[in-house]
Symmetry: C2
Subunit: 517 residues, 2 copies
């Protein structure tokens, strides 16, 4: 539970403690046409009144998996008084929403366990780490009273490391934009675009290009203070970073991905994170569902869809409920004994699990802030570590934690196959190319995760060969079994996908239950 | 004073309570070549040992003005035991670093006073509002134990309002980049740039342009999911915002400034702010200097530079100190009786005061988060309000405060000449063009500031016609009088300028005092 004092200081946070307050207000806003302009998907959470008016109690639901999809489903169903039981194979709730802290122990399939030795206040979001503002995840943070803060996803002062060369992001951007502007200005000037551009167009384009590329009076790119300084302006005008290199070298540097990373609708600035660790979402959802409704260590062994209910068996127990919401990864679910029929089984086997890995590197000194003036953000590389993330929290504290790699597919498989020691060694060797010897010598501790080696998950996320009929088939129930998970949405690998999918399953289930009530 | 519990939770924050700890460590780092790579200006704070080794007490210094420059100078001098007295004309410390809260009262020259009626937790940074990570302001936040958080300076979801049309920043950017990429790709394809580009260059350029503009297979811009959605992807693929308009209309929209705003070295993402209000810097500096050393309500009437000291008189008192650090705005200082000589007086009259204004608009509902999904950031306009800032703190709280205009020069003069009621009315009329009727109807309260009408300041900042010999003349002492302030640096209008300048004055003064001791 979030600190009450903090909440009070933050004013009347919507939805805290007031049963139905935020959810009901939000639903009412939707009805009034006031819901977020960009997020106008209809979702009306089930309400107790939906049943009691009809003189029948709510149905029972067995939810398979206590990840974000399972918890969200149980939370929304619980609002209407459904009798939910959540079965979770592992010893904890949250699924891939996993925040590691000192004292935690991380186990892997066919690998040694890692004891996490981070200092007080240091945490590592081993799974999801950022939230886009349009995502429904933000609505749950608001509704559940989870304080959020900015996740710096783009940092002009972070580095770009490509083809063995390291430059600041802002330097790479200024040079690329400068030369693009110059080339287009010249082409415009030469009249080769006359068929496309009127005289007014040309003037406006040139005005924009001057600004966009910081071009000189003769429409040439001659460097720019945007590239950064070795000594910033102060009493004097400062000393700009030497350069730029010529057009050929700038093009050859291959910085394209790095400087366009935040253009995507899912990666645009700003992004957000819960204060204190992503698992605040898990903690609050778990509490809202009720710990007594969640049975951990319950690995499901069979699912039988019957005419009037669903029977689920696990190692050591069995129960029959009116409905089932199955939120396990499709490749795991497909292997559990079931009677969904061949089409559903084939559909469950269609998405391909993707390997994904991360390493948390704890340092006793935030040298990236002190020496590199990097406060949060991401260094993009063409190395197998792909990214280095700098922490967007506890700025200026003593210790801090970098994400030393966050990769997927082949690169993740490569790291995942190594021992934790060898992963760390490889990650440090790569990061040292950017940050120098301190990257290795000042390390305090580390922990790495290979999601494809996590029990009951066996993958970071899935990839659909195409969003075909298998995908849409599973968005509908198989008898009394509803499927949910990020893997059933166009937001694969995002918590928002898990939540949207849970809402969809809940809505379909509730409409059916209310109809038959 | 910052909350001790907070500080403890944040770990061993550098410099808290440990006299000389951070400063000394930092200076030592500099000596070892470990100082920030981008911020390697030599600054060694004066230390008590500098005097006691020579058997003489520290000199006395009278500091004129308790703004950021004056407080920084007194703070650094105080580290070495200088006997400082700070004279401040107004009733408070901070100068233009001003954070307004409920219960405050704001007075203006020749205008009515405004009573601030904001609710608990709502604040308005009426002066400086953001800090770039390379700025020395960050070092003072670290050294003084002031918690910082991200100031969202660029938000892809915020709006651009130009020529009467409102679009999301991301939409404006996607369209402009898309067409630029298309035009350059076509020019490249047509061979009109053959003289500049080798075959390899061309291929790399095209690869970049495809990514940069999200071009289609035929190198044409046909819209992009980067533009945003009316319904974001979830169970379905989402519905993209209609468009784009044609090349001519996109060029005519004039969004250039808005989408290149964060390219500058002083505006690049990320930026930062102290938690709880910018005046945390004032509060901690004031405390570190010692309230007993600061005399408020002391409007200086004459400054006399003597052979062995400086005599300063104010309404109701007079003192003579070994040295003086004068941090008043140059146009204010020039009008005070003094004996600096004609060259210095002329130099002080050279920079031109600039009008600047802001209005804080308090709402009872954070509709920009709930409905527009705008969490922090800036909407850029070609209206006289120039910008609208959304708050980068207390996300999801009940109330919130927008900056409804932040303008300078002619636009600021226009607003500054109005009554507070008329300023609000005009600001609401403009903002309504972007946000609709709620912008006006849901307002709770407001307060506006016209810096050119603030007593003892009479301007937002200054503009130097050129950084000429007058500028450099004032960077050196006039007899025993040292000048300081953002106006003496290339960081005019930034607190970092005030701090850099204070450090320069302190260094020069201390070298002289230590030499003569």
């Amino acid at each position: 539970m979030a600190d009450r004092a903090t909440l009070t200081r933050r004013g009347l946070l919507v939805g805290i403690g007031a049963a139905g307050g935020a959810g009901a207000m939000y639903a009412a806003m939707g009805a009034l046409g006031l819901a977020p302009a960009e997020q106008d998907k209809a979702f009306t959470p089930p309400r107790p009144g939906d049943f009691t008016l009809k003189g029948r109690g709510a149905a029972s639901v067995v939810v398979l998996g206590a990840g974000v999809a399972g918890l969200t489903a149980a939370y929304e169903l619980g609002k209407a008084g459904y009798d939910c039981t959540v079965l979770e194979a592992s010893g904890r709730t949250g699924g891939r929403n996993l925040t590691l802290r000192g004292g935690d122990r991380l186990t892997e399939l066919n690998g040694p366990a890692q004891d996490v030795r981070f200092g007080d206040g240091v945490y590592f979001n081993a799974g999801p780490g950022r939230i886009a503002p349009w995502m429904v995840t933000m609505d749950y943070c608001r509704e559940l009273g989870i304080p959020i803060e900015t996740f710096v996803n783009t940092n002009a002062a972070a580095y770009v490391h490509t083809n063995g060369r390291t430059v600041r992001n802002k330097t790479a951007r200024a040079d690329m934009y400068g030369y693009i502007a110059e080339l287009l200005a010249k082409a415009t000037h030469q009249g080769s675009l006359d068929r496309r551009l009127t005289k007014d167009d040309r003037e406006r384009l040139l005005e924009f290009l001057r600004r966009f590329g910081d071009l000189g009076p003769r429409l040439a790119y001659e460097g720019s203070e945007r590239r950064g300084f070795t000594t910033y302006p102060g009493m004097g005008g400062g000393t700009e970073i030497a350069g730029p290199a010529g057009l050929h070298d700038v093009l050859a540097a291959g910085v394209g991905r790095a400087i366009t990373n935040d253009f995507g609708y899912d990666q645009a600035t700003p992004m957000f994170q819960p204060v204190g660790g992503m698992d605040a979402i898990v903690a609050r959802l778990t509490e809202a569902v009720g710990r007594d409704r969640i049975r951990t260590g319950a690995r499901v062994t069979s699912i039988t869809d019957l005419e009037h209910g669903v029977t689920v068996a696990w190692e050591g127990g069995e129960l029959t409920a009116d409905f089932c919401v199955a939120t396990l990864p499709p490749h795991v679910l497909a292997k559990i004994s079931h009677n969904f029929g061949q089409k559903v089984t084939t559909a469950l086997k269609t998405p391909v699990p993707v390997a994904a890995g991360k390493i948390g590197l704890e340092y006793g000194r935030r040298w990236w802030e002190l020496e590199d003036r990097i406060y949060g953000g991401v260094t993009e590389t063409d190395l197998d570590i792909t990214h280095i993330w700098y922490p967007s929290y506890d700025y200026h504290a003593q210790r801090g934690l970098l994400v030393g790699y966050y990769n997927s597919d082949e690169a993740a498989q490569l790291y995942g196959a190594l021992t934790p020691e060898d992963r760390r060694h490889r990650a440090l060797t790569q990061g040292k190319k950017i940050h120098g010897e301190k990257y290795r010598s000042e390390l305090l501790s580390s922990v790495s995760i290979a999601w494809e080696r996590q029990p009951h998950l066996q993958g970071g996320w899935v990839r659909w060969p195409s969003f075909d009929s298998s995908f849409t088939l599973l968005q509908r129930p198989s008898g009394r079994v509803y499927f949910a998970g990020d893997w059933l949405t166009h937001l694969v690998a995002w918590q928002a996908g898990a939540m949207e999918s849970a809402r969809s399953a809940v809505t379909q289930l509730h409409q059916r239950a209310a109809r038959s009530a």
